[in-house]
Symmetry: C2
Subunit: 301 residues, 2 copies
């Protein structure tokens, strides 16, 4: 039986790990949170406390941590994965990272005799749980071949975007530019609408079926209508991801006025202490400035 | 047989007028362009050169001109519609106008013994042609009752948003805020992606099925991929519509940083002489600044 390791059992990693279990793989899950590891064990997974322990006998390693720094630590840090991996194993790097980092990482893994796939994902926790993520991947034909059975278990769609690491992360970066702008714009629009006296639920219904709609508008505005800012994806994720977009624009000398403005709004929400709340919390920046009363969460009995 | 008048046979008004014809109404179309009037006659409509002539015997008047100034001229200007309309006729005002103008217009029409519906539309020329527009309407129960058979002919969906004119235009304004931001963001994202070496068609395909997608991204990016900037909706429409959004925000003392930034990009495209080109031309602002080569239009043999 092939064995997979998943480093980082956040909502995306956990969904990937359980999808791999359902497909019959042996799965070793690495996390620092004991309660997450116990839950994973109860579903038939093997709990591991360090990457080095997790990658024993693994044919493929998914890295589902938050950013480039954590990716580096998981792979090359103390008790990291790379020295413990057998030659020819494939590393599937799925955190959203700067494209230049993804390129360099690919080269470093190749030097170690490993196969490298630059493979950020999209779809949110729901699609992760059902094994229907979208994967934006680039890497060598050998890396794709080695990763294929594992990707089949976690993804509904795998885009092959190029034969070297970097292109997957470039495409993901563009997706995050749009996703972040659309969340901030949804918050700006809903706040103005409420301030102008429009019923919020009716506004959501009309826009959802009109030309002003977006995937993010339809996904995030219900959080606002329900007054529920429990983090499905946190404000600080877009502080980071739009930060990557702007750094890349800076390096390429490419002006990004809309992404830069949206980034400032996530920064403002984070500055208000909302960094770990749901990213729809950006609407509170507008609401607090202009005195808009937002829908309250229904208290559960 | 009931008679309808459509003032302004642009792409939206022309679609409404032919949809009314298909539903069996007598339809008088008003425009200043002879070739449009001749085409309308060939489809069974009655061609009229002035609003006063067009509204003879009309039970309902659709006003499908471009803005508030043209709406005012069509209704109250020289050879305007209002003095020529019979008492109890319904005026269906469908241009995108400032919400405060829509409110005042409703009061002025009511004073003249007319029924007033604030009824901006969405859906684009395609949906207009097939009688499947979305209408965002507000007005009295009597105005809705009088307008209903005519609205049924032109719209797939009529939202009843309130019992006085103004609310329809407020909701349309929020739709335009989002639509405008999404177009500008699509241009920023596609230009950065191409500059970073991503294949434009592949990028479009991935984003279209990912969380970064929007109605406008899917509708406008194909114009960029085909290098076809023949105006389906012109840059200057969003110079106007985001202008209405910002004026309203100004009046309400409500800050709109993202809409303001997007407006500047439409202004930049208009300043480059592209005001009458398709609004996807905003990408040329980025392309010219950063030296991105955009897809060319295939020459037809």
């Amino acid at each position: 039986m092939s064995t997979a390791c998943v480093i980082g059992l956040g909502s995306m990693g956990y969904g990937a790990a359980t999808s791999l279990l359902r497909s019959g793989f042996g799965v070793r899950g690495v996390d620092v949170r004991e309660e997450v590891l116990r839950r994973f064990e109860s579903e038939g997974g093997t709990a591991c406390r360090t990457p080095a322990e997790g990658v024993q006998d693994a044919d493929a390693v998914f890295v589902f941590v938050v950013n480039a720094q954590q990716t580096d630590a998981a792979l090359f840090g103390e008790r990291g994965a790379v020295p413990a991996l057998g030659k020819g194993a494939v590393v599937i790097a799925s955190a959203t990272v700067p494209p230049l980092y993804a390129e360099t990482l690919g080269a470093r893994l190749t030097e170690q005799g490993l196969l490298a796939l630059d493979a950020p994902v999209s779809g949110g926790p729901g699609k992760a749980a059902t094994g229907e993520m979208t994967v934006m991947a680039s890497g060598s034909a050998a890396a794709f071949a080695a990763a294929q059975p594992f990707l089949d278990a976690v993804a509904a769609k795998v885009y092959r975007l190029g034969d070297t690491p970097g292109m997957g992360s470039r495409v993901k970066m563009i997706n995050q530019l749009l996703a972040g702008v659309h969340i901030a714009a949804a918050c700006e629009a809903m706040a103005l609408g409420m301030h102008a006296g429009i019923d919020a639920r009716q506004l959501f219904e009309v826009i959802s079926s009109s030309a002003g709609s977006s995937w993010m508008f339809q996904n995030r505005v219900p959080h606002i209508l329900d007054g529920d800012y429990g983090p499905q994806s946190a404000v600080d994720i877009f502080v980071k991801d739009l930060g990557i977009v702007l750094e890349t624009g800076h390096a390429l000398r490419f002006p990004l006025p809309i992404a830069a403005t949206a980034h400032q709004l996530f920064m403002a929400a984070s500055a208000k202490g909302l960094g770990r709340d749901d990213d729809a919390s950006v609407i509170k920046v507008y609401a607090d400035i202009a005195g808009v009363e937002l829908p309250k969460k229904k208290s559960t009995p």
